[in-house]
């Protein structure tokens, strides 16, 4: 039996701000909740190739594991959790952006 495929999202940093971004079905979002969850390995590879080609928008695209059991994808590793939230010593980055909404 083939190994079960852990759901993934394509993530990268935005070229101009360096902020953490996630690939959606139509573009990119700063919010993990809006990321497109990829459940098929071949599809995930294709989406990553697509992301890596967008050299004037994104930097360092890769596939990150997510827990897709809830309504929105959640990080499975603490590093991805920090990337999705921002630093813990100041409410900067994504936390700051969230408070401005």
């Amino acid at each position: 039996m083939p190994r079960a495929f852990t759901p993934k999202v394509v993530t990268a940093n935005a070229l101009l701000e360096g902020d953490v971004i996630y690939q959606t079905a139509t573009g990119w979002s700063r919010d993990l909740a809006e990321a497109e969850v990829l459940t098929d390995e071949a599809d995930a590879d294709l989406r990553l190739i697509d992301a890596a080609q967008q050299i004037d928008t994104v930097v360092g695209a890769y596939l990150a594991d997510v827990d897709a059991s809830g309504d929105t994808p959640k990080p499975t590793h603490f590093r991805e959790d920090f990337r999705a939230k921002g630093p813990s010593n100041y409410a900067h980055g994504k936390q700051e952006a969230a408070s401005h909404v």
Binding site: L16, D19, T76, F78
Partner: protein, 554 residues
Amino acid sequence: MYNYTDFDTAFIKERNAQFRSQVERRIDGSLTEDEFKPLRLMNGLYLQLHAYMLRVAIPYGTLNSRQMHVLADIADKWDKGYGHFTTRQNIQYNWPQLRDVPDMLDALGDVQMHAIQTSGNTIRNVTADHFAGAAADELADPRPVAELIRQWSTDHPEFQFLPRKFKVAVTGSPNDRAVTKAHDIGLRMVERDGEIGFEVIVGGGLGRTPMIGKVLRDFLPREDLLPYLEAIVSVYNLLGRRDNKYKARIKITVHENGLDDFKTRVEERYSLIRPQFTGVDQQLLAGIEADFAAPEFKSAPETEYHDARQHYPAFRAWSDTNLTEHRVPGYAIVTISLKAHGATPGDATSAQMRLMADLAKRYGHDELRISHEQNVILPHVHKSDLPSIYSALKAEGLGTANVGLISDIIACPGMDYCALATARSIPIAQEIATRFDELKLEHDVGPLKIKISGCINACGHHHVGHIGILGLDRAGVENYQITLGGDGTEDASIGERAGPGFSAEEIIPAIERLVLAYLDLREEPAETFLQTYRRLGLAPFKAALYPEAQANAA
């Protein structure tokens, strides 16, 4: 202080213009990230976890007030109103946007600063004793030589693609405050027959394979310094390994080939290149030394200082911990703590930077220093001015009386910012400082250096902390390993691993058990943590850290 020549100014300007155009070409898609990355790293620009990070060199940790003001202005205009001072006497901005970086570099260039060679496999910012030129125990000011090395190493054509990064530290004092034994090359000024020369130490380093540097020459005459350094780096450039990043530092080159073999090669190379150094470097050095002439010190009564000590306990506590003896009577070296309990170690807001700059201008001969312990120093202050300085500092949250104590913690940015980190460091530092402040124990505990790194690369110097903490990723959970008995001074030693790591929740109580055990174990209050550890060894501390193992064995 050294002032840029026309050549230096033109060089920085041209380099910044080149980088501006490289950034434009990256943004318009003419350069790929693979092409751009080495170019941005050469100019100190990293891409970290949440944003870009610009690392600006503060050569040998010396700044004037105008430069500090510009660092504050940059923080306000292009960052988030603060800067982070690092363990290599640099400042890092955590939130610059790519488009703004060329303007930031131009603003730095206007006050003779840059970010060149703060990254990459080059000779990095040369660090020095942060009390240079002021300390009572000093043979000579190491900064002129550090500046000479900076000029020699900046854009050195032979050394732009070394096997790995290369760090040099210099001290002019027998009490080593520059951690010279944990550098690729450490230089300690020593005196022989009335002449000052250098003890040349090579192959020290922390990281995944920590090593204490070894003495390559016990006395090198001053005029031979540059050719000798060139010989060392040149041998390393050819002999150092390029097949494995983790074995590429000079400490491994020296270790694998043996000190004798390495020394033979260096001496051979040295005899070959020595004649090429015709003395121009010594003429340059003489000019640089004139730039570093000591300020004119005054002679004045110290009455205000002694009165304030007598009447204000808070001032007395601060002056007990944050002052160091100056070589001139009536003067003191002030260490301003960037370690307020619960704050991020090494961070200063723009308002704090401006205040420190203004105090330096008004009371401190316009000089500031950054220490590798992430504090700011006013090296030349007359004691009569200390009460005024203290109240100004206190009003801006800079009056913490904890230098050298348990809450004066070194911490790398860790996984809150760094892309390489395997765990967070900052919250651990914040919690330890807050906890010991609650316990009101830190003055009783006395001198104790805690150093925290968020990965094996050891930017937080954990190997040379009396208590070292290393954050790791153990099966997807942050885990903290403790090392004990490390020391970064002239008696340098690498800390010993205490045992299995602790979770983020367990680590603060573990440190508390350790420190309480020390209080029980010490022979008298004057015996420091490190002295007690050296007297008793690991066992009693291990017992305090792992009471369950102790109970099970019983």
